[in-house]
């Protein structure tokens, strides 16, 4: 089952690595490079899953998530958090995240999460 996935991360390497893995599994992937653009794209709707980096300049992933949830958007969200920032995970769940993956991440494991979230 394939879906439309929004990937928001300010790190180009991560964005590309996530995108190519998800595309290889047949998903349609759109990427955004910062929180503000990510929020804008998120609000357009029509996503099956949103992959959000937490630590971004400007709007953080948590801010984006909070604003999405405030407007009643229930799209499954997977957060990318840095290892050792356990507080991000807490904050993420409090803001309405569905899953998290810590960086450095395994693209395969992330794909499995995305697939589970769609199905």
């Amino acid at each position: 089952m394939s879906g439309r996935i929004l990937v928001v991360d300010d790190d180009r390497d991560i964005r590309d690595l996530v995108a190519i893995k998800l595309e290889s599994a047949g998903h349609e992937v759109v990427t955004r490079a910062d929180g503000a653009q990510g929020l804008e794209a998120g609000l357009e709707g029509g996503w099956d899953v949103i992959v959000l980096d937490v630590m971004m300049p400007g709007l953080s992933g948590i801010d984006v998530l909070r604003q999405l949830r405030d407007r009643g958007d229930e799209t499954p969200v997977i957060l990318l958090t840095a290892r050792g920032q356990e507080k991000d995970i807490e904050a993420g769940f409090a803001a309405g995240a569905d899953h998290y993956v810590t960086k450095p991440f395994s693209p395969r494991a992330l794909l499995a999460r995305v697939t589970a979230a769609i199905g």
Partner: protein, 321 residues
Amino acid sequence: MSPPLAPELLQAVVVVTAALVLGMIVALLVQRAVRRRRERRSAALDARYRRLVLESTIAEDDEVPALLERVRGLDDAAREHVGRMVFLMLRGVTGEAADRLRAVAVATGLAPRVLADARHRSAVRRADAAEALGRLAPEGALALLLELADDPDPTVRTVAVRALGGFEAPEAVGAAIDALASDSGVPSTVGASVLLQQGSTAGDRVRLALHDRDPAVRRGAARIAGLLQVPGCGDSLAALVRDEHESVRLAAMRSLERLPVRAALPALVDAALRGGIEGEAAARAVASMPTTWTAAALEALAAGEPGVRRAAGLRRPEAVA
């Protein structure tokens, strides 16, 4: 005018200053132009080879040899660029994708260069090599990193020890323990963080290190024993609350917040009642233990100074009323 401000001298100074000002402006412009050109060139290489590197992370097993062959066939500049790209990407990924990227790195010829750089004359190059050895983990990396962990330059030692976090061999754990020593020149948080990364394989060595003669080693071990949940170190941690060195005592108290040990309570209460920063740390440790153990201890802390009472989470007298 008098001699010190003779016009000839001033004129000479003006000319020299003006020349220097111009020279610096030129240097500034050249520097920026060179940097811009380098960035443009790198962007061009990126545009050509990025896709190739990314594809390696999702390639099927049977496609890999062909991909690596393509990498090996690139010209020097391109291979170097691909190597750098892979090196940066490796910061973000683990698992199968990381293994693939490492294979690409080997194909670019990065590994032999890194191995050679580990013995380079320049400390900066050796430190670079240590970092790369950790991230690329080529054959022989562990032995070289252990060597670099004893490097004469403290920065190289620090980077090497940090890189050992990815290795779980007993020697790697040993090097991290050695790095805790007061004369290692490696910041103690680095050794401690590496042991945390090595995880449960480090447990036995950490337990032993709690009894080391060097207070810096005891401090480092005490700090992470709780975070690592090292089994069977409760009594030792409790004893370290009465260690002769303040920093060891503080580290033990922090650890007890994560690894509650009932036998430590009397020593913690004593320390808390002595007050100060250490009193606060002791009180925090008490407050984080199960309430079924601590009722009497908290009651005793009510007599402590306000800072200690705050750390123990005790309310202000007016607030209680």
